[in-house]
Symmetry: C2
Subunit: 371 residues, 2 copies
């Protein structure tokens, strides 16, 4: 891999997506899903780009997952018609939007508590609708989700009896894998993720409750948890781009990272300090997903191990240089970010590169759709 | 101050701007500038909203400061015609854009090294143009900027001799004040900021070099450094909104914070844990400007000291509740963020509130204009 994907000057900062690496990442995950007879429902919150969602569907995905209703609305407006919104829907404003969205797409949402379920049920029942839902499980992230065992059984039973709701099974996101020390701990978490889900599904079925879908997520864990017998669906997101966090976890190599930031050295105010024209407004302040802090610095300068991105203010990256460097003011460098998802969320568009040139510019159509 | 600015349900998360507090913050800074005979050139990177820039100009600002050329282009397109781009301009692509921008607005940029200056000079000279520039000084942030004393004198002398460049003086940003322990240290940094700049200007004038502008910035320091005799211009940005960081530094009170995030409790998966529908995609991961980590948690839940925003993933805020609370799933809470600038940068629009209702929606027109 050369240090530079783009071989001509480019207005910086620019978020680059490598077309061939992207295509290979999408292909490889589709092959994995096919091999293990899993439905692949990629999470589009990583890219938020309809063009990439379409590539994922073309490779065999059954539909997409979105983080919010707003992202789902954008995907549906771009012709994607099978969507899981992996977030509880609460409040009249959102229920109305959900009702509208159902007119143009098959939509499923999640529930992890009775308050949400009662509101959904009442709204649907009054309008003679049926909302399809998955019950969200907590497999260790301690964010949303019902705990496995009796808690899960009790809530699922309650949900199953509510009018206006059609329960489709269970889902979880083992995001705590992002805080793992390395691949061994990732495997352990992944195995637990799959096992918890399959055992819970078993518990539900023993109580004569239908739970056809057993859906797991997360790029680090999915190639392990997806192999646990009884899991039916996987929802990885980050794999399309990968990033330094996936490298740190042992889940991807640098050659599998499809997203970089091209940035320019704009100042050299001291012998050991460069300033680049990308800061927290480009890289975000992530040192790993879910607030984990597993990597040091704010990205890897490709081909320049002498450089550490030590600090970020909003529009400045402060790069500390240790030892000799050939870099000088005006040079463009390419950086693999710690976490590619917020990078895509901060930019209005990405530059698609292929064979050294920018072949397309894609709008990040669902960026900022947090509502 | 009531716990809620908006007294009716609102689709969440929503970034709220309180019209009267905003207006008062703008007024107060304008009065300060007038009292001390300072030009006020507010930094619009905090809000990125033409409507607010116009309010600042109406209150007496001489023009605006922007972080990047892209922000300046948006402001100029909205009729704002006196702009300082507080960033070095490097590369042919940007020089062309700068040349275009000069046709519709009076534009000034900054330089802190000879490489940038030579490129600007050559480009301007070939086209028979004059670019107005300020020389950027390092008053302690250790980011961009020339060190005061002989370094400053030598570079300024060199710049003064270049064709195509019209030197207008010096500027600095004492952003290291954001890392201060409290108001006493802020005052110390501010006094140093003003003194360094005035002494440097004196050094230049003793060498028969014209330096009409002596421009300082930063909301925490500006009311002190602006009073140093010889400073001519102030460029505060954050003061329009303020945030928890300004409260921590002793520079603003909660009643002076004009920006909040309205977010909804969407889940209560454990007795001591709420999940809100705003995460790092709304609040960013800032614990203070310039990567400082002065505040704990990710925002203040107004009226609910029992709540701590302990973790953020992209779309989830994990709130830990200590002791009793009346809050429940479905409730909307309002949160003062740690750092208001990235919050405005992440949202596509802000909801202006006045007397309990949303009176306008303003587009964050210059958001994401990092190039």
């Amino acid at each position: 891999m050369p240090n530079h994907w783009v071989h001509h000057p480019i207005d910086t900062p620019a978020v680059l997506v490598h077309q061939e690496i992207l295509q290979k990442n999408i292909h490889d995950m589709a092959v994995f899903a096919k091999t293990y007879h899993l439905a692949l429902r990629p999470h589009i919150k990583t890219h938020k780009i309809p063009e990439i969602a379409r590539m994922q569907l073309a490779a065999g995905a059954v539909g997409v997952t979105t983080a919010k209703l707003g992202e789902a609305e954008v995907m549906a407006a771009h012709g994607i018609t099978d969507i899981l919104i992996a977030y509880p829907i609460i409040g009249k404003e959102k229920l109305k939007r959900l009702e509208e969205l159902r007119k143009i797409a098959k939509v499923m949402t999640v529930v992890d508590g009775r308050e949400q379920a009662l509101e959904l049920s009442q709204y649907a029942n009054e309008r003679n609708l049926q909302f399809e839902v998955l019950m969200e499980m907590d497999s260790g992230l301690r964010r949303c989700g019902v705990l496995p065992g009796q808690d899960a059984l009790a809530l699922y039973r309650e949900l199953a009896e509510l009018p206006g709701i059609r329960l489709q099974g269970i889902m979880t996101h083992a995001g705590h894998a992002y805080g793992a020390t390395g691949i061994d701990q990732v495997r352990e978490i992944a195995l637990q993720e799959g096992t918890i889900m399959v055992e819970t599904a078993q518990l539900l079925r023993e109580a004569d409750l239908a739970a056809p879908e057993v859906s797991v997520g997360s790029t680090p864990t999915v190639r392990i948890s997806g192999q646990v017998e009884g899991v039916t669906e996987i929802r990885p997101g980050n794999y399309v781009f990968n990033d330094l966090t996936q490298i740190r976890l042992g889940v991807a190599t640098q050659d599998q990272c499809a997203l970089r930031v091209a940035t320019r050295i704009v100042s050299k105010p001291a012998e050991d300090r460069f300033i680049i024209d990308a800061g927290a407004k480009t890289f975000a302040l992530d040192q790993g997903a879910h607030g984990t802090t597993g990597v040091s610095g704010y990205g890897r300068v490709v081909g320049h191990p002498e450089c550490t991105i030590a600090r970020l203010s909003e529009e400045h990256g402060i790069v500390i240089v240790q030892g000799a460097t050939k870099l000088q003011v005006g040079d463009i460098i390419e950086i693999i970010p710690n976490h590619s998802c917020p990078v895509a969320n901060l930019t209005n568009e990405v530059h698609v590169v292929s064979r050294g040139v920018v072949s397309a510019v894609w709008k990040v159509a669902a960026r900022g759709k947090t509502s």
